[in-house]
């Protein structure tokens, strides 16, 4: 089975982003960029499937300018067999990304598509579901466990009430959550080896001519800061205050 993993280049999760004073966005100049952590979990899962023998090829894909080759190389160093860059200088909204990914899926014919439940920059949590919809295939979002059984998979999903288990036919789209696994560290020899692995570039326009951009991004602002509240002297004061506010 071939597994396609979509990864996104995002500001590293350790970076504290700041909104620019003019409200035009967040400062990303000079900050560390990484694979979106949830996508890294998706890639780790694909690699574990290959190691377990359920997958035989892991292809890592990213959409963006040449700078995203850095994350694709990291993906190759983690162990992906080859990489594909969907070359575009545009910021793709989720439906545009899904449309491009679908075109690539039609070329690559994977048995499983993995990607993170959301990117930690725009926090949209849409692309996987949209891809599954356009593809007309099952989706299992927020996966905490994936068991491949031939032509189907049992996916345990994190839902509000607990854990939901779905039985889905393959091919399918599975989006990955934090608990699925812990991604491996990349070792130096692997980084050297990754340089020799194939990285193909395909122009976005070769995959789709459809422009699905329908949202206009306007002004950015910092979040409201919480202000200091009141102090109470004892538990009775606390309970009284909670009751006054209608919270108990």
């Amino acid at each position: 089975m071939k597994v396609l993993v979509f990864i996104k280049r995002v500001v590293d999760y350790n970076v504290r982003v700041k909104v620019r004073p003019d409200g035009s966005g967040v400062d990303t100049g000079g900050v560390k960029m990484s694979i979106n952590p949830f996508d890294e979990i998706a890639l780790e899962e694909a690699l574990q499937m290959r190691e377990a023998g359920t997958a035989d090829e892991v292809v890592v894909v990213s959409a963006g300018g040449n700078e995203c080759q850095q994350q694709l190389r990291t993906g190759l160093a983690m162990g992906a067999d080859r990489a594909i860059q969907i070359d575009t200088d545009k910021t793709l909204q989720p439906l545009s990304a899904a449309r491009a990914f679908l075109a690539l899926i039609e070329q690559q014919q994977p048995g499983l598509v993995l990607l993170g439940k959301q990117a930690i920059d725009d926090d949209n949590n849409q692309t996987g579901q949209m891809l599954a919809a356009l593809w007309g295939r099952p989706q299992a979002t927020n996966a905490a466990e994936i068991v491949i059984n031939g032509n189907s998979a049992l996916v345990t999903r994190e839902v509000d009430a607990g854990l939901e288990v779905l039985d889905i036919d393959l091919p399918a789209v599975v989006t990955t959550d934090l608990r699925l696994n812990t991604p491996r560290f990349v070792k130096l020899p692997d980084i050297m080896k990754a340089k020799k692995k194939p990285l193909d570039v395909v122009a976005l326009g070769e995959l789709t001519s459809h422009d699905d951009t329908n949202l206009q991004i306007g002004q950015w602002s910092p979040p409201a800061q919480r202000s200091k509240g009141i102090m109470v002297d004892d538990v009775a004061g606390l309970v009284g205050e909670l009751k006054n506010r209608g919270l108990l």
Binding site: D121, Q129, A161
Partner: protein, 312 residues
């Protein structure tokens, strides 16, 4: 006037409160508010939905394939029902986040995720970068608005409504490729940390895994989720998945209790969207008091039992 369709969330014959919060958001947008209920037998839920203030119509679409809230089944039908509407909303719960983008793609639009405020009928505020920035998103006049509503930002709509209930059969085909197997509820009956209305967290001051029992006991009383600071997780008192903060879970309960948590930035980032923060700490200078709505300087080993008793 524009028509707004809200995807209702429900389980075990009960309408989820997140739905009523969407109604409040819809009211801020302005328009005729309808609710869509997908169920195998939605009569009880439809009745509750019809009683919500400001809802004028409830669409009750019953089919055995809607016995479980599966996106693959519900999304195509929601997209079919969306005909004639200017807006399709769903709560930004695990359910809404699963179903709505699938419907949005079928409707050919991007979704506005996590509306926290309405600027105008077509312009919304939403959080990005884990809430470290807020961005205005505008949907052009010729485009359908498909959006999830960040439940922590909205109060639930009241009752006293008397909407009409319209029953219908599904219009779309439902796929056979996705099958529900089971639902496992974790940690007994304890609500999920990320969506619980009330969350009680403990820090390193708890001192041991055994002492965390006090937190669990109070949580049972308040039907609350349980979280922990990174320090408590690192000390091995509780498992990883209970960590609240920048590197753990970012939560926005209506009520948040922090017991023995100093208030490191990494923890505060995870709770700054909570409705009301209550902090109990021995150290009067703990930074948690700078952001707490109600603070109490005291020993948690005395405060927790007292609180538990006061709530009995």
């Amino acid at each position: 006037m524009s028509k707004i369709l809200i995807l209702a969330e429900h389980a075990n014959g009960q309408l989820n409160q997140a739905t009523a919060k969407c109604v409040t958001c819809a009211k801020a947008i302005g328009g005729e508010v309808h609710l869509a209920i997908f169920s195998n037998d939605g009569q009880a839920v439809a009745k509750q939905a019809a009683g919500l203030a400001d809802v004028s119509k409830v669409l009750q679409i019953d089919h055995q394939d809607f016995s479980h809230p599966l996106a693959a089944q519900i999304a195509p039908e929601l997209a079919a029902q969306a005909d004639g509407y200017g807006y399709v909303l769903a709560p930004s719960t695990m359910f809404g986040k699963d179903v709505l983008p699938r419907a949005a793609a079928l409707l050919g639009v991007n979704q506005v995720s996590d509306i926290m405020a309405v600027n105008s009928a077509r312009s919304f505020k939403r959080p990005v970068y884990a809430g470290n920035a807020i961005v205005d998103v505008t949907v052009p006049a010729d485009s359908l608005v498909v959006a999830t509503v960040r439940t922590a930002s909205w109060a639930a709509a009241g009752e006293g409504g008397s909407a009409t209930i319209e029953q219908s059969a599904p219009q779309s085909d439902r796929p056979a490729h996705t099958r529900f197997v089971e639902l496992r509820t974790e940690a007994g009956d304890r609500p999920d940390l990320q969506t619980a209305n009330i969350v009680i967290s403990g820090g390193r001051a708890l001192g041991s895994a055994e002492n965390f029992e006090m937190i669990y006991a109070l949580a049972r009383k308040l039907k609350a989720g349980v979280g922990a600071s990174r320090a408590a997780v690192d000390a091995g008192y509780v498992p990883n998945d209970m960590q609240v903060g920048q590197t753990g879970k970012i939560i926005s309960p209506e009520l948040y209790f922090a017991f023995g948590i100093s208030g490191a930035i990494q923890h505060v980032t995870g709770i700054k969207d909570a409705g009301t923060i209550i902090a109990v700490n021995k150290d009067a200078d703990a930074p948690i008091f700078e952001i707490a709505d109600i603070g109490l300087v005291g020993d948690l080993f005395q405060v927790i039992p007292e609180l538990e008793q006061a709530l009995s």
